[in-house]
Symmetry: C3
Subunit: 304 residues, 3 copies
């Protein structure tokens, strides 16, 4: 892997992905072996919009490697308010840290900022754009529970606006995976995403209901359907209800079906699923730590 910025899933080859996931497996197996790996490293956190789990997960990751954070804090207390350009902010802050993690509401912002800095920069979400570490932890979770090759996966919910889903689908084209997309007609995969998947030679199918394909799935990846995507509440309620799962519905699935969700969930997965062996969404969130440790360790290794 080139030891520089990680701004998009698209820049990662199958080999890059496997190297990171292998290191994450190593870390998960023996975290203490990595406890002092990056003990002099400071990770700069530039979160231009709120985030709980991503920020905590990166903080935990660098600290589990023995390093520490330098946090810009909320944007309303930053120089950004004084009209500073993103490029200037990035150039100042790189002097305080050995690597940067950036979340920003504008698509393309991480890529742009990365062109101004010498330390590695990781995109932790740029609006409707990319969030590569989410994809890596999704892949890690799939690999641990079902394997990435020979996989049959269902991806359900809001497939139109879901950044997480687009990145995951794209990354899965590196592996031998059959992808089934399940959504209401109005929230289908965008044409360009579908086109890209076909171009990659990926085997994908689209459905409007889960039932027919559920029995064949190894993994069911559920995402939230947001009310604000619909013209009125009644239309939302009618549609959303059909894309919720519960323990009863899962009785038609394979015994070893893995249910994933990028969280937070609202009601698209009923609480009774939590008690089943299918539920892997909390583990999936926890996997963010070893995966981000692996990525940070890889990027910082390349530093002088």
């Amino acid at each position: 892997m080139r030891h520089d910025h990680i701004t998009s899933t698209k820049q990662l080859s199958r080999g890059d992905i496997e190297a990171i996931l292998d290191r994450a497996s190593d870390i998960a197996a023996d975290p203490s072996a990595y406890a002092d790996r990056q003990e002099d490293a400071l990770l700069g956190l530039l979160f231009f919009e709120p985030s709980t789990r991503t920020k905590m997960s990166f903080s935990a990751a660098i600290k589990r490697l023995g390093g520490d954070i330098v946090d810009m804090g909320p944007v309303d207390s930053s120089s950004v308010k004084k009209g500073e350009s993103l490029a200037d902010t990035a150039r100042v802050v790189e002097g305080y840290a050995d690597a940067l993690v950036m979340r920003h509401p504008s698509e393309g912002s991480a890529q742009m900022a990365s062109e101004y800095v010498d330390v590695p920069l990781i995109n932790a979400g740029d609006g409707a754009g990319q969030h590569p570490t989410q994809t890596l932890l999704d892949l890690y979770t799939i690999r641990e529970s079902a394997g990435l090759d020979g996989l049959t996966i269902g991806i359900m919910g809001d497939l139109k606006y879901g950044r997480t889903v687009h990145s995951l689908a794209q990354a899965l084209t590196n592996f031998d995976a059959s992808q089934h997309f399940v959504s209401p007609e109005s929230l289908k995969l965008p044409r360009n995403v579908r086109y890209d998947l076909h171009e990659e030679g990926s085997s994908i199918k689209e459905h409007t209901d889960l039932e027919t394909i559920l029995p064949s799935l190894d993994v069911l990846y559920v995402t939230r359907i947001q009310e604000e995507r619909f013209p009125d509440e009644s239309e939302y309620r009618a549609v959303a209800g059909e894309y919720q799962i519960d323990a009863d519905l899962l009785s038609a699935a394979k015994d070893d079906l893995t249910v994933m969700h990028p969280l937070p969930r609202v009601d698209e997965i009923a609480y009774d699923v939590d008690e089943t062996s299918h539920a892997k969404y909390f583990e999936q969130a926890h996997n963010g730590v070893p995966v981000r440790m692996a990525l940070l360790d890889t990027l910082l290794e390349g530093e002088p």
Copy 2:
């Protein structure tokens, strides 16, 4: 002590309390002996409402043990805003830390959250409910300055709404302490708290003014009377003025009277008291660090 969640003072026996205070004394006597005790530990901070001193004190405590924090940050930047349940938040965050500290505006929330997580969870205040580490640092301060057995203590101010006061009074029933409660009629101890204290066989007395009992006190614990408890400002002013102390008033007290306050104070203790040897409220605040170190060290010791 059972090595698990600390959500209420009521779960702590006299033996539990003494074990924690003994360890806190050890730490205060030789902090350097504890400087690397928990060097791989991460403490997750879940503050669903603002707090300065409690959060700083817990941060200092885990860092003085060689560990570090992972902070959720202010609640308006958290997944809670997206409708996530408290149970889900707790289950995600436990994957980032070895123990959790939680403050939340709803009574019972810490207890509820603790049922969903495997790592130790400490309640740092749940609305009108409990705040056990405040009680432990109060007990530590009393023990250091006056001793917990054979103690005569006056507790003054808002005894109706004061969570701090209820917990302290309850905890003192484990020791041979005479408790005198001093407040305006409208802010007396709630009936259920008084009942519980009687049930424990505790010796308590209630007063509307301080003067008659002041000379007999070893400790005077002052709390703030908040204006918002009164129907109008003039009524507040009339009452509050009678429950303020100054150096002049304390001339009637024992030479070694200890004056305590959970802070922040506004004007219930005049600044001229700061200069007297009675004033122990800043020391009391500082005692939060060794006491929380002792508690964290005890809880984390039990971890694999």
Copy 3:
């Protein structure tokens, strides 16, 4: 240097300044030699108003020394909201840390707070007052690039309200420096600052345009002219435009002219200057880390 509070540039002698800058040079030359110098130190951050770069820079500095921070967080989540006095806040917080850094909107606040605490307190900006570590990093940058003695410096922009400029000008009176002040008539140095500089025997000159003196300068220190200083926008636009620099304008300067700016900039330095060898403003910001490391290391050394 006396090992106590640093609240104003005025308290620093030439010898004090040189000792700090020498240590900062040492640190910059071999940071790893300082990586564990203060490994048990906690630095309390009391930022009563927002700041990005100063707070991040102090955080990086103490962490690069092996220590850590305890952060009060934003003021709206602090006890200050409950009416606590600044003196009380300082006295509580000193129990959580080995040194304090304080930013506050009121001039004189850091000095006042320092009178209540025993641990070293560093002023990180008190309204229109002082910000001594900004001055130290400015001096360090000048010394590294042009030398402090025999220096010819131009200081341009808002000289009336600029706290940074007043402190730097005052500190430069300790050295053999010719100071040229360039500003619109309405934003000239205040009479009292000019008077103090004359009293110190400093060689200063005032100008309304840059061109005549530009060729003689070793350093050009640019500051922002804020729109809110002008009665209307058109007046602002007319004036501000004359105090902006670009690469073309700098072709009349010495080859080794150093351009500095306390940042954030808006448009007073065109982006094409960034590509020239004159641009030292990002390096200047980065120098905050070794300079603050040197100051913290010096102050903490004096601690028991």
